[in-house]
């Protein structure tokens, strides 16, 4: 199981700005280890987010997204106290979901 994400969600007027940091190697499959063997691709392919349970975001990522990825997006119609949950799935099927409260 990967380490938890860091999610910061700040209310701004009737919106919430969400900043997410995910702990993931994001291997491109192009790198070789010190013994010269290619390190297989291992990266987050799909990211979804929801506000109080209803989906607001779907994104698909390729191998170009940086290691320990950062993402920022803004949800409409959100206020302090609402629950934002973010989930990712990688190409090995590993999953992670974490939640934060809009401040």
């Amino acid at each position: 199981m990967a380490d938890p994400m860091r999610i910061r969600a700040q209310a701004q007027g009737d919106k919430a700005v969400v900043r997410v940091l995910m702990s993931h190697e994001m291997e491109t499959g192009q790198r070789k280890d010190s013994a010269g063997k290619t390190i297989p691709a291992w990266f987050i392919q799909e990211v979804t987010a929801s506000l109080n349970g209803s989906p607001v975001l779907t994104a698909q990522w390729g191998t170009a997204v940086s290691k320990n990825p950062f993402m920022q997006f803004t949800i409409r119609g959100a206020k302090a106290g609402d629950k934002v949950s973010v989930s990712w799935v990688d190409n090995r099927g590993d999953k992670r979901t974490d939640e934060a409260t809009v401040a």
Binding site: D3, R6, K67, N68
Partner: protein, 270 residues
């Protein structure tokens, strides 16, 4: 006379233009790098390691199944805030001057029953060594914004400063480099990498006041021990032991020189 003047002033103007262009290109590069770094500050992956370190600090682990919440980092058992900006310092229980990472290993051994020597011998980024880095990130973050003020009251602390200074200037290896070859003067750069002058206070958030830091180039969290280790690798020196006297002495030398500088650790670096 008029024509001569014209020609000469034309040439002079051209020269300034050229010089200006070169300086302009140079300024743009430095500005460009500063702009790039600014964009990364918000959302530093070091936060992930800080959270992991906080969990490890509180979690009961090791043969003695104990947490680190009673570990004395120099300001009393369990006191984390402010500890980072006063390290390395002398510890009576180990009768040694220790930096943050070697002190954490001492606590992991005394409180949790881990084998300190085994941790020190583990390569960076693996096993408990990875946890030491996360713990160091957590402890450093608790002092963000505070100013460095290493104690120099104990004779061992003063002695280590002098030893550290001599180690800093020690030239050797196939390239004849010392730390001072790169960090001995103001305004120097390796490629586009600014080099702080570590023989004096380099200023807020610079040099000693910026590590542990998250390195974007390899996506790794580095404590000061790994930072010094890789410096010596590029200095073409042999391998400095984790927590060895040389690394702690350099920490005292740089930490005391940084007196009054504001800590921005954990920072984000190339």
């Amino acid at each position: 006379m008029r024509r001569g003047l014209l020609v000469r002033s034309g040439a002079w103007a051209m020269a300034t233009l050229l010089a200006g262009a070169a300086a302009q290109a140079q300024k743009n590069t430095a500005d460009g790098i500063a702009e790039y770094r600014k964009m990364l500050e918000d959302g530093n992956p070091a936060d992930l390691f800080e959270a992991k370190g906080e969990a490890l600090w509180k979690q009961k682990r090791g043969p003695k199944n104990a947490s680190l919440e009673s570990c004395d980092l120099g300001k009393g058992p369990g006191v984390v805030k402010g500890a980072f900006v006063e390290l390395p310092r002398y510890f009576a229980d180990t009768a040694k001057v220790q930096d943050l990472e070697s002190r954490l290993v001492s606590c992991m051994q005394a409180l949790q029953g881990f084998d300190g020597a085994a941790i020190a011998g583990t390569p960076f980024g693996r096993g408990e060594q990875d946890n030491v880095t996360a713990l160091a990130t957590y402890v450093a973050a608790a002092s963000r914004g505070l100013r460095f003020s290493l104690p120099q009251g104990h004779p061992e602390e003063r002695r280590l400063y002098e030893v550290g200074k001599r180690v800093f200037y020690f030239r050797g290896g196939p390239y004849d480099f010392s730390c001072a070859s790169c960090h001995g003067e103001d305004g120097k750069r390796i490629r586009l990498q600014d080099l702080p002058n570590l023989t004096k206070n380099p200023g807020d958030g610079v040099g000693f006041a910026a590590w542990p830091a998250y390195r974007v180039s390899n996506g790794q969290m580095w404590g000061m021990q790994l930072r010094l280790n890789d410096c010596y690798r590029q200095q073409r020196f042999p391998y400095p032991g984790f927590g060895s006297e040389v690394t702690v002495a350099l920490g005292v030398y740089m930490g005391v020189n940084a007196k009054g500088a504001e800590s921005i650790a954990p920072a984000i670096k190339r």
